[in-house]
Amino acid sequence: MLNSIKPKGRTVFLYLVIPVAAFIFTVFIPLITSLVYSFFDWKGGPNKSFIGLDNYAQLFKDSTFWLAFSHNIYLVIACIIGQIGIAFVLVLMINSRLVKLKTMHRTFGFFPSTIAAVCIGLIWNMIYHNKYGLINSFLEAIGRKDLCQVWLNNTKLVMLLVTIPLIWQYIGYYMVILLSAISSISTEVLESAEIDGATGFQKAIYITLPLIKNTVLVCVTLCIAGNMKAFDNIYVMTAGGPGNASMVMAMYGYQVSFGQSNMGYGSCISVAIFVLSLIVIGGSQFLINYITREKEA
């Protein structure tokens, strides 16, 4: 029976050849290319020389790269707590019978995540601006001109300041995902808990959270993957500065490759971004599986 709907090999080949070829060309060929060039000293010109593992030796000692890596980790942790944490709290509130305008909160909350990261970065530049920024004009209005500063030039604060827009942009996104998971929990479970005298907090931690565990894990994974590749906001807001105070891996790779046109070392950094991102994403998956298994046992 199945044979009657089995197409000819040639038909399948013709259908698949273009997408598969395009995919290999744009994803796998560059991967291999970066691996090859990471063994070369190549400043973008016609001359390349094979230098073995020298780029990697340099990378291990490159404090800027590891600083950038630590900033990526900072972003991941801040965004897991900020985005998913706040989203969860908001979801609990929005589900309450006392709250009005639920659809509006969903529509407005989700809106920033549909806007380009470049736009978000530019908008927040305006908010942080020293002369015409909203924060400084607010401080002036309440008579605390002494607190005004060039916000994005503050080395100590800059990581926090570039993280806030990122967190803000995606709270609504995770809120909506969690909301759709919670709506599948039967109201009977929550009502019977209420009759048993569970407080709102207890209901949230002991009933809602375990029941939407899988969705929370999906959110955490999305959050990690999203922040390991942070680039657009940083490029627009600080370009990694002041100094390297807000440098992230993708930004550093871009700067080395195109700013200093050091393509060999840039390729090496690309390979490192690839490996480190996979390790962080894979490691977190492993950790999550390990922890949740422990609890079920």
Binding site: P19, F28, L98, F111, T114, K131, V176, I177
Partner: protein
């Protein structure tokens, strides 16, 4: 006693209700406020804005818009067209290829099926920002960077994996007897694919298209690396240039941003329900 308890209970509920409504309203307003602020500020003149950054325009003017659109140095119209073209072609290709590959991987048994499946699965896991530098090198080598079609390749390739898996999962829910019946009636593979399966898959293909519209329109880093020609730049690239040119002219910058955001904003508020549903489905299943 009982009545008293009911009274305090009511008050507590009232306070809790007020608090929750307040927090959520504050959140919603914060999400929409930048858009509103930019909208009314873009009708102010630079001097009026600098004097009072928060106030409503006293003398609304369209000067920012006319200046941006009339000055061909800014290439805003050209950039918009580039973005529309790139996004539209990418979406069509992503939807078509996702449908074809997703269907074949889900239904047709052939030697390389598992290999291709794993390859596209890896495509989802690969941190694409590690490709930023090497993709530039490869495209430069092949002489295909800085062309009108350059961005189609990465956008389609990066959009494919999620589309394929959404389609693949969806096709599994279609009973195979449908295709068997079609085959008995003499329908060829291609006819079944396009005339029977394609209409059934429409909901999932709309989801794929929705997700990709936003990611293609908003994509920045690969455009930054692969496009050098101002006449070929997409909207996000153009905006970063305005940042330099209009450094101290915020109303103008806001007008430019609003123009480039307009298609997305209109699309979002017109179809927000479907868009939210589609994006969530894509995020959770993909």
């Amino acid at each position: 006693m009982d009545a008293n308890y009911g009274q305090t209970h009511k008050v507590r509920r009232g306070i809790a209700g007020f608090f929750m409504n307040f927090v959520l309203l504050a959140f919603s307003i914060s999400c929409i406020f930048p858009l509103v602020w930019m909208l009314y500020s873009s009708f102010k003149e630079k001097r009026a804005f600098n004097a009072d950054v928060m106030g409503l325009p006293t003398k609304p003017t369209l000067i920012n818009y006319t200046r941006i659109l009339s000055n061909s140095d800014y290439h805003l119209g050209q950039s918009m067209w580039n973005s529309v073209r790139t996004t539209a072609i990418s979406i069509i290709l992503i939807v078509a290829f996702s449908f074809i590959v997703g269907y074949i991987l889900s239904r047709v048994k052939f030697k390389l099926n598992r290999v291709l499946y794993i390859m596209f699965l890896m495509g989802m896991l690969i941190p694409i920002h590690s490709l930023l530098v090497p993709i530039y090198i490869v495209f430069q080598r092949c002489g295909i960077s800085n062309q009108w079609f350059t961005l189609l390749l990465p956008y389609v390739s990066f959009g494919l994996p999620m589309g394929i898996f959404l389609v693949e999962g969806y096709v599994k829910t279609i009973p195979i007897s449908l295709e068997e019946a079609a085959a008995i009636d003499g329908s060829s593979f291609s006819y079944t694919l396009w005339h029977i399966i394609f209409p059934i898959c429409q909901p999932i293909l709309v989801t794929v298209a929705i997700i990709q519209v936003f990611s293609c329109w908003n994509e920045f880093s690969f455009a930054l690396v692969l496009i050098k020609d101002v006449a070929l730049q997409t909207v996000p690239l153009a905006l970063t240039q305005f940042k330099g040119q209009f450094a101290s002219d915020y109303p103008k910058q806001m007008a430019a941003m609003l123009l480039t955001m307009a298609p997305i904003v209109v699309l979002y508020f017109a179809f927000s329900k479907q868009i939210i549903k589609g994006m969530v489905a894509g995020a959770v299943k993909g």
